[in-house]
C-alpha cells in the first residue's frame, strides 16, 4: 500500500512508523487503511479514498493504550489496539494476527504518547513552528494591574515572591494591601496551605471592592488561630470603606471543609475572624468531577443514550456541578458589584478557586470577554496562580489512573461556554475558540498548558511525570537524571523553547471571533445558574458522532453575509462620493460600479436583488 507521504506534518514533526491497519469506527464499522505515527500525532487514512476517512489524534490527547485480544483470539478484528483519549473518544485498531504485527506499533505508540514516562521530550519542545505573533507577550502582569488602576493608595505591588520563595506555586508579582508589610506576608504564609496567602485578583473600578484568592487556613484539629492571618484579612476588608463584612467564599461543601481539619487544614472560624462572613459554595472536589465526566462519556460515546437521555444526563451530575460553580461565581460577582470585598478559597486555592475567581471576573469585567482579555484572564488566574495543568491533565505520562488528574479546566471552559450560550453577543471569541483551547490543552503542541505553575515554567524545567519518585532508566537517555530530584534544569526557559498557544490563535484571530460581539463594558453579566437553562455542550462532548451537525450556525452565516454586504455597500458609497468629487470620471447612470473592476460597463452587481425581507 502506498505510504502516507502526503500526510500533513508540522515543522519539527517526524514520522516514526507507517503501517497497514484496520480502524474500527464505532459509527460505520471496520475501515481498512494506513496509519502514520509521528512524534506529534496519530494519523489514519482509509484505502478507498471515496468517501475519504481520515483520523487525526495528537498523541498528547491519548490517556491510555491497551492491547486488545491475543494472538489466539478468534473472530474478525479481535486483535489490535484500544486507545482511550482525553478528548471524549476511544479508538480501536485491528491488525493481522500473524507475526506479532502489533508489537512495534504498540511500543512506539506507548513511547511517543507518554514521552515523559520514557525520558523523551514533549512535542512542544521539538516543534519548529513559527508564527507572526508572539503569544508569550500577551500577558504582562504589571500592565494588567495598571489596567485595573493598580497600585493605588490601598493596594501595592510586591516583588517579595520574585524568586518564588514566599510561595512556590504563586506568581512572582503579587498585589497586597498597602498596609501589610512584607514581614506580615511572610507570617501569614505560615498559616495558609502551601503558603498561598490572600492576594488581589481583581478590583472594581468604581466601588473598589476586591476579589482576593488564597488557600485554606491551617486550622487543624485543634482549631488553631493565627493573629497575623486574622489581621491580614481585616486589612483587606479595610481597603474598602463600603465593606462592613468581608465575605469569605469557601468553595467546598461544609462537611469537606470540616473534614480538612484532620489533615491540618480547615476554614475561618467565626470567632477568630470578626468582620467576616463565611459562605460555603458546595462545589465538590477533583475526584468527584473526574468520575462525573467519566459517566458523561459513558452516555455520549460512542452512541448517545437514547431512551432515557435526560435522566441519564442528570445521573452524571455533570451539569449540576456546572451549576454550582456558576452559582458560586454569581455570588462572588454579586457581592463585588454591591460593593463588598470577598476572599475566595478552597483547599489549596488552585482548582475551584481559579474557577470561581476567573468566572466572577468574566461576569464583572467586559475586558476579559474579548479574545485578548480572555487570554490574559487564563494567563493570570489559571497559569500564573498555579492551576496544576501538568498534574490535572497528566501530559506525557502513562499513569492514566493517576488520582491527580481531573477535568477542572474543562469544567471551567464549559461554564464559559454556558455563559456564551446565554449571552451570545457578549463574548468576542466563539465556540471554535473554546474547542481549540481544549484541543491544545491536551495536544502538547504548545508550551502554554504544560506546567503546574509559574516557577516551574520560569525555572526552565523539563516537565516531569507528576509523581516522579524513583528514576527509571530512560529509554532514550537525555540530560541528567538524578535520584529524588523532581526538577531537572535544562538549557532554556519554556518561553524560549516552546510556542505559546496564543501565538497560534492570535495569528489568525478572525476564525476565533464571534461576529455578533457587541462591546458592552457597563453591565455585569449574570448568567442564570438553573438547570432550566444549562445544557450539555453537545458540539464538544458529542462532536465525534457524525450525527451531530458540525456546521456554522445558520444565524452566524446569515449575519456574516449581511456584514459582507454592508462592506460592499459602504465601498460603493465611498466610490460614489469620490466620483462625485470628480464627476467627470464615470458617466452617471443606474450602474453601480463593481468594486473589483471599477469599469462602468461591468454588469450591475448584486445590489438589485438585495432586498432583505425585513
Amino acid at each position: 500500500m502506498e505510504l502516507l507521504t502526503d500526510a500533513p506534518l508540522l515543522p519539527g514533526e517526524e514520522r516514526v512508523i507507517d503501517k497497514d491497519i484496520i480502524y474500527i469506527c464505532p459509527f460505520s464499522g471496520a475501515i481498512k487503511g494506513r496509519v502514520l505515527i509521528s512524534n506529534y500525532r496519530l494519523f489514519f487514512r482509509n484505502v478507498d479514498a471515496d468517501p475519504a476517512v481520515t483520523l487525526e489524534v495528537p498523541l498528547g490527547a491519548i490517556s491510555r493504550v491497551e492491547k486488545m485480544g491475543g494472538a489466539s483470539s478468534r473472530g474478525e478484528n479481535s486483535y489490535g489496539l484500544d486507545i482511550t483519549c482525553k478528548d471524549m473518544r476511544n479508538l480501536r485498531f485491528a491488525l493481522k494476527q500473524e507475526g506479532h504485527s502489533r508489537r512495534d506499533i504498540f511500543d512506539i505508540l506507548f513511547r511517543y504518547a507518554f514521552p515523559l514516562s520514557h525520558g523523551l521530550q514533549l512535542f512542544a519542545f521539538l516543534s519548529q513552528e513559527k508564527f507572526p505573533e508572539n503569544g508569550w507577550n500577551v500577558y504582562n502582569p504589571m500592565q494588567e494591574f495598571r489596567r485595573q488602576g493598580l497600585p493605588n493608595d490601598q493596594w501595592r505591588v510586591t516583588f517579595l515572591n520574585s524568586t518564588y520563595e514566599l510561595c512556590d506555586t504563586y506568581p512572582s508579582i503579587l498585589v497586597v494591601p498597602y498596609t501589610a508589610s512584607d514581614e506580615d506576608l511572610r507570617r501569614v504564609a505560615t498559616f495558609r496551605s502551601r503558603s498561598r496567602i490572600s492576594v488581589l485578583s481583581w478590583i472594581h473600578p468604581e466601588n473598589q471592592a476586591v476579589i482576593t484568592r488564597c488557600s485554606q487556613p491551617l486550622v487543624g484539629m485543634g482549631g488553631k488561630r493565627n493573629r497575623d492571618d486574622e489581621r491580614y484579612l481585616e486589612l483587606i476588608r479595610a481597603t474598602n470603606r463600603t465593606t462592613s463584612k468581608l465575605t469569605i467564599f469557601d468553595a467546598r461543601p461544609n462537611v469537606n471543609a470540616v473534614a480538612n481539619k484532620a489533615t491540618g487544614g480547615g476554614y475561618e472560624g467565626e470567632d477568630a475572624y470578626q468582620n467576616a462572613e463565611l459562605v460555603f459554595l458546595d462545589i465538590q472536589n477533583i475526584h468527584v468531577m473526574r468520575e462525573s465526566l467519566k459517566k458523561l462519556k459513558d452516555i455520549v460515546f460512542p452512541n448517545v443514550e437514547e431512551s432515557h437521555w435526560l435522566s441519564s444526563l442528570e445521573s452524571t451530575h455533570w451539569l449540576e456541578h456546572i451549576k454550582l460553580v456558576l452559582s458560586g461565581a454569581i455570588q462572588v460577582a454579586d457581592r463585588i458589584s454591591s460593593g463588598s470585598s470577598v476572599v475566595v478559597h478552597c483547599s489549596d486555592g488552585w482548582d475551584r478557586t481559579a474557577q470561581l475567581s476567573s468566572l466572577a471576573m468574566l461576569m464583572l469585567d467586559g475586558y476579559y470577554r474579548t479574545l485578548r482579555g480572555f487570554q490574559v484572564l487564563l494567563e493570570k488566574e489559571w497559569l500564573s496562580f498555579g492551576h496544576k495543568f501538568a498534574s490535572r491533565i497528566g501530559h506525557g505520562d502513562k499513569n492514566h489512573a493517576d488520582a491527580d488528574r481531573s477535568p477542572i479546566f474543562l469544567q471551567f471552559v464549559d461554564c464559559v461556554w454556558q455563559m456564551t450560550k446565554q449571552f451570545p453577543t457578549a463574548f468576542q471569541f466563539n465556540e471554535h475558540f473554546l474547542v481549540t483551547l481544549l484541543d491544545h490543552l491536551y495536544s502538547c503542541r504548545f508550551g502554554t498548558f504544560l506546567f503546574n505553575c509559574e516557577s516551574m515554567r520560569e525555572a526552565s524545567v523539563r516537565p516531569q511525570p507528576p509523581h516522579w519518585h524513583a528514576p527509571q532508566p530512560p529509554a532514550v537517555s537525555q540530560g541528567h537524571w538524578s535520584d529524588g530530584v523532581t526538577v531537572v534544569r535544562l538549557f532554556q526557559e519554556v518561553k524560549k523553547k516552546t510556542v505559546s498557544l496564543w501565538s497560534f490563535i492570535n495569528s489568525e484571530p478572525s476564525s476565533y471571533s464571534n461576529p455578533f460581539f457587541t462591546v458592552d463594558l457597563s453591565h455585569v453579566l449574570y448568567p442564570v445558574a438553573s438547570m432550566r437553562h444549562l445544557e450539555l455542550w453537545v458540539s464538544y462532548y458529542i462532536r465525534w458522532n457524525p450525527r451531530i451537525r458540525q456546521q456554522q450556525s445558520p444565524m452566524e452565516q446569515r449575519y456574516k453575509e449581511l456584514l459582507a454586504l454592508k462592506e460592499q455597500y459602504l465601498k460603493k458609497l465611498e466610490e460614489l462620493q469620490l466620483s462625485d468629487r470628480a464627476p467627470q470620471v464615470f458617466p452617471r447612470g443606474p450602474h453601480l460600479s463593481n468594486s473589483a473592476s471599477p469599469s462602468p460597463s461591468s454588469p450591475p452587481p448584486r445590489v438589485t436583488r438585495l432586498q432583505t425581507p425585513f
Binding site: 491540618g264 435526560l310 451549576k323 457597563s522 455585569v524 445558520p554 432583505t612
Partner: protein, 746 residues
C-alpha cells in the same frame, strides 16, 4: 403585512355604563379603575381591595386593587397608576397582563389558613378562602389575597370566579358569542397571500391545483344535510377522495374508512387519512369490513403507481388520554408560585421532565411523521393514515408530514392554511379537547402537541420558517381565549349549525372572528413579532434552479442501499391489513418498530449529509439532546430564569438591526446614484441603552440599570451521591510542609 386597519373593533367604548357594585359608585377614584371592557363584556361581580401578590422582587410583595369577574375574564385593576407602557412592547389588545380569560383558567387553589386546597366546582360553595391562586393555561400564576375585602364581597367574587371559570356551561355561554354580536362583522381582509379557510370549493380547488394532485371533489356534504343522517359529523363540507371511491361507499360506514385527501407529493403519490371502522366481533361483519377496507386501499393505491401503505396511528402512538395525562404532569412543573419550590425542583429538573414523558411523546410524533415522509419521499408510496376518530393524531401526523415536505406551509399564511385544512375544517374537536365547557373527560392538548412538534422543527431549522417562535407561543395562548371561531367548535358542522341557531335567536348574522385575524389581538407593531426575521423567501433564481435540477428518477434519497425495494406493494399490504383487522388488531408494527427505527435513522442520516435546503425537505433531529423544552412558552413568566440582556433574541436583534442598516444604506446608495439630494445622515449609531431585555422577549418585561442575580438557594447536597470520592482530599499528600513545620514554629 396582513394586518387589518388599526382599529379592528377594539377599544370602542362599551355601550353600557358600569356594572360596578353600587356601593362603590360615588368613589371617583375607584370608578376610574375599571378594566377597559370589550364589546359585549359584562361584569358579574367585583371586590375591593384585593391584594395581588407577586414573587418578583422588583414589585416588592403585593399590589392593591380591585378584582373583577366578567363574562370574559377575571381582571385585576391596580390602584396604583401603572408605569408607562415602555416596559411592554408587545401587548395583547384583548386582555392585559392582569387579565385571565375565563377559558384560560386551568386550576384554582384556595388558601385556607395556610392550607392550600384545589377548588372544584362542586365544593366550596360556603366558606370562601383567604386567598386564591389561579393557574392559567398559558402558564401564568396569579395569587390574590381576599383578606382585606369585605366578607360579603370576598365571598361573592370567589363564588363568581369559581362558577364562571370552573362550572360546566353551554356553548352559547362562550364569550365569542356575546363578543361578535357587538362588533361589526370583521371586514374581509384582502391580503395577498391570504389564508385559505377551506370553507368553500375555491380554496380546495386551489390547494389541489397547487400540489398537482389528482383526486375527486365531493360536494355531497355541502349543506351538512348528510352529516346529520348518513355521515358522521366530523366530515368537512367539501373534501377530496381517490377517484376510485364511489359516492355510495360513503354511506357504508357513515364515511368512516373513506380516504380523505390531505396532500399530494410532487411525484404523484398522496397522503390520505381516515377514521377507522367500528370494532366488530361477528365474522360476517368483519369480512365485510375487510373487503371494504381492501377496496378503499386499492382506491388509494390507484392514485399513483399502485403502491399504498396504511399507517395505523392508534396502535403506535400514545392515546388521547396518555397525552392529556402527560401534559398535565408536564405543565405542573412550570406553574410555580414560590421561589423555594423553584430551586428545590431545579436539581431534579431533567428527570422530572423525563418522567412526564411529554418530550418523549413529541419525539414519537415527529418520528412517526418522518416515517411517513420517508414513504412518500423515498418510496413514493401513497399513504393512508388510520386513527380511531380520524381527527386527532392523524391531524398531528398529516400536518407535520406536510410541514416537512412542503415549504409552502412554512410560510405564515401557508401554515395557517394548513391548520385550517387539517384541523379546523378537518374536524378536530377543539371544543372538547380544549375543555372550553369544563367537561373534563375529553380534554387533551392534541393541537398544542402539534405546535410543540412544530416548535422543535423551528428551533432546529430557524431559517426555514416565516413565522417566529413568538407566533407559535401566541397561537398556543389563543387556544384558550374563547373569542375565535377557530378553537371553539367541535367540527365544521357544529360551527355552521350553531352559528345558524345563534343568528336566528339574535336576528342578525353572527360572525365570530378567526384567530388568523391577528389585528384583533395585536397592533401592527406587535404583529411584527410574529414574523421570523431570519426567514428568507426563495429567490427566483433558486426556484428555477431547483426546477431544472430536480432529478427525474424519483428515488432521490436512496442510499448505499439497505432498503428492500418495493416492499410495501399493495398486495402485501392488504394481507397485513387483513391481519390488522382481525378482532384484537395486534399490530404488526410493534414487531417492525426496530426496523422502522433503523430505517428512519438511515433516512435522516442520508438527508443530513446533503447540503441543507431550507426550501426543501426538512427533517427533525430526533436524538435525545435535540428534543428540547419550549422555553419561551413554558418559562417566560418565571422571574428566576430570565436572562437579562441575553438569549438568542440578542442575535435576532443584531441581525434585524443590521438588516435595517443595510436597507438604509441601500436607499442611500440609490439616492446617490440618482443624484437627487445630498444624502441625509440617517444612520445614528444604535443607542447603547441601559435597558436589558429578557431572553423570553417579547413576553417578560425588561430591566434597566442594575439588578440582583438569581442565586440558587437549595442545593440538596445530601441527594448527590458522590460516595467515598467526596470525602477525599484534592491532593493525597498531607499538608505537612508548612502545617507541621512552620505551624509549629509559629
Amino acid at each position: 403585512m396582513f394586518s387589518l386597519g388599526s382599529n379592528g373593533g377594539k377599544y370602542t367604548k362599551p355601550s353600557f355604563v358600569s356594572y360596578v357594585n353600587p356601593e362603590q359608585k360615588g368613589n371617583d377614584a375607584l370608578q376610574e379603575k375599571n378594566p377597559v371592557f370589550l364589546p359585549g363584556e359584562v361584569v358579574f361581580c367585583s371586590a375591593s381591595p384585593v391584594l395581588k401578590c407577586t414573587h418578583d422582587d422588583l414589585l416588592e410583595g403585593s399590589i392593591m386593587g380591585t378584582l373583577f369577574c366578567t363574562n370574559f375574564r377575571i381582571s385585576f385593576v391596580s390602584d396604583q397608576v401603572l408605569l408607562e407602557d415602555v416596559v411592554q412592547p408587545f401587548r395583547n389588545r384583548l386582555y392585559g397582563e392582569n387579565d385571565i380569560p375565563l377559558t384560560c383558567v386551568d386550576q384554582i387553589y384556595g388558601d385556607y389558613d395556610e392550607k392550600r386546597k384545589l377548588i372544584t366546582n362542586t365544593q366550596m360553595k360556603n366558606k370562601h378562602p383567604n386567598g386564591i391562586i389561579v393557574h392559567c393555561k398559558d402558564l401564568r400564576v396569579f395569587q390574590f389575597s381576599l383578606k382585606l375585602a369585605k366578607e360579603e364581597a370576598a365571598k361573592k367574587i370567589f363564588q363568581g370566579i369559581v362558577r364562571h371559570s370552573l362550572e360546566p356551561k353551554s356553548l352559547r355561554c362562550i364569550f365569542a358569542f356575546s363578543y361578535c354580536e357587538n362588533i361589526a362583522g370583521a371586514p374581509e381582509t384582502q391580503n395577498k397571500p391570504r389564508t385559505l379557510m377551506f370553507e368553500n370549493i375555491v380554496d380546495w380547488m386551489e390547494e389541489m391545483k397547487r400540489t398537482k394532485g389528482n383526486c375527486k371533489l365531493l360536494e355531497i356534504n355541502k349543506d351538512f344535510t348528510i352529516s346529520q343522517k348518513v355521515l358522521f359529523d366530523r366530515l368537512p363540507q367539501f373534501f377530496f377522495i381517490p377517484t376510485n371511491v364511489l359516492e355510495k361507499d360513503l354511506a357504508a360506514y357513515q364515511g368512516k374508512g373513506v380516504p380523505i385527501w390531505c396532500w399530494s407529493h410532487h411525484s404523484g403519490c398522496a397522503l390520505f387519512k381516515t377514521a377507522s371502522l367500528p370494532l366488530v366481533q361477528e365474522e360476517s361483519f368483519l369480512r365485510a369490513q375487510k373487503l371494504y377496507m381492501e377496496r378503499m386501499l386499492n382506491a388509494v393505491a390507484h392514485n399513483y403507481l399502485y403502491a399504498v401503505k396504511a399507517v395505523d396511528l392508534s396502535e403506535t402512538l400514545p392515546s388521547i388520554q396518555d397525552i392529556q395525562q402527560s401534559y398535565s404532569r408536564f405543565k405542573q412543573n412550570f406553574l410555580i408560585d414560590n421561589i423555594g419550590e423553584f430551586w428545590i425542583s431545579d436539581m431534579k429538573w431533567f428527570s422530572t421532565l423525563e418522567t412526564t414523558r411529554w418530550l418523549s411523546i413529541i419525539r414519537q410524533c415527529l418520528h412517526k411523521a418522518v416515517e411517513v415522509v420517508e414513504y412518500l419521499e423515498k418510496e413514493n408510496t401513497n399513504i393512508l393514515l388510520i386513527e380511531d376518530g380520524g381527527t386527532d393524531l392523524s391531524c398531528v401526523i398529516s400536518s407535520l408530514v406536510q410541514l416537512m415536505l412542503d415549504p409552502h406551509y412554512r410560510t405564515l399564511t401557508g401554515f395557517q392554511s394548513l391548520v385550517q385544512k387539517e384541523w379546523v375544517v378537518g374536524g378536530h374537536n377543539f371544543l372538547e379537547r380544549c375543555n372550553h365547557l369544563n367537561n373534563k373527560d375529553k380534554e387533551s392538548p392534541v393541537f398544542l402537541l402539534f405546535l410543540e412538534c412544530v416548535w422543535q422543527l423551528l428551533q432546529q431549522h430557524s431559517l426555514a420558517f416565516q413565522f417566529s417562535e413568538t407566533y407559535l407561543t401566541v397561537l398556543s395562548d389563543s387556544i384558550s381565549v374563547a373569542i375565535f371561531s377557530t378553537f371553539i367548535f367541535s367540527s365544521p358542522y357544529q360551527r355552521v349549525s350553531s352559528m345558524k341557531t345563534e343568528s336566528q335567536t339574535h336576528g342578525s348574522l353572527l360572525n365570530i372572528p378567526s384567530v388568523w385575524d391577528w389585528s384583533l389581538q395585536f397592533d401592527c407593531k406587535s404583529q411584527e413579532f410574529l414574523f421570523n426575521p431570519l426567514y428568507r423567501e426563495k429567490s427566483k433564481q433558486e426556484k428555477t434552479r431547483n426546477k431544472n435540477q430536480r432529478p427525474k428518477p424519483i428515488r432521490q434519497l436512496s442510499l448505499p442501499n439497505a432498503t428492500p425495494p418495493k416492499k410495501y406493494f399493495f398486495k402485501e399490504e392488504t394481507e397485513s391489513l387483513r391481519k390488522m383487522l382481525r378482532g384484537t388488531r395486534i399490530s404488526r408494527w410493534m414487531h417492525l418498530s426496530d426496523s422502522a427505527q433503523a430505517s428512519v435513522w438511515e433516512f435522516y442520516n442520508a438527508w443530513q449529509q446533503k447540503p441543507l435546503d431550507y426550501h426543501g425537505l426538512l427533517l427533525p433531529d430526533l436524538d435525545g439532546p435535540a428534543i428540547r423544552l419550549w422555553m419561551q412558552r413554558y418559562l417566560r413568566w418565571i422571574p428566576e430564569v430570565q436572562i437579562f440582556g441575553g438569549g438568542d433574541i440578542t442575535l435576532v436583534n443584531k441581525i434585524t438591526s443590521l438588516s435595517q442598516e443595510l436597507e438604509e444604506l441601500r436607499m442611500e446608495l440609490e439616492q446617490q446614484v440618482r443624484q437627487a439630494d445630498p444624502r441625509c445622515k440617517s444612520t445614528e449609531t444604535v443607542n447603547k441603552s441601559t435597558i436589558r431585555m429578557s431572553c423570553f422577549f417579547p413576553f417578560a418585561s425588561c430591566r434597566s440599570g442594575s439588578f440582583k442575580p438569581a442565586i440558587p438557594t437549595s442545593h440538596c447536597d445530601g441527594e448527590m451521591d458522590m460516595g467515598h470520592l467526596a470525602e477525599r482530599e484534592d491532593e493525597d499528600t498531607e499538608l505537612t510542609d508548612n502545617s507541621v513545620i512552620r505551624g509549629c514554629a509559629d
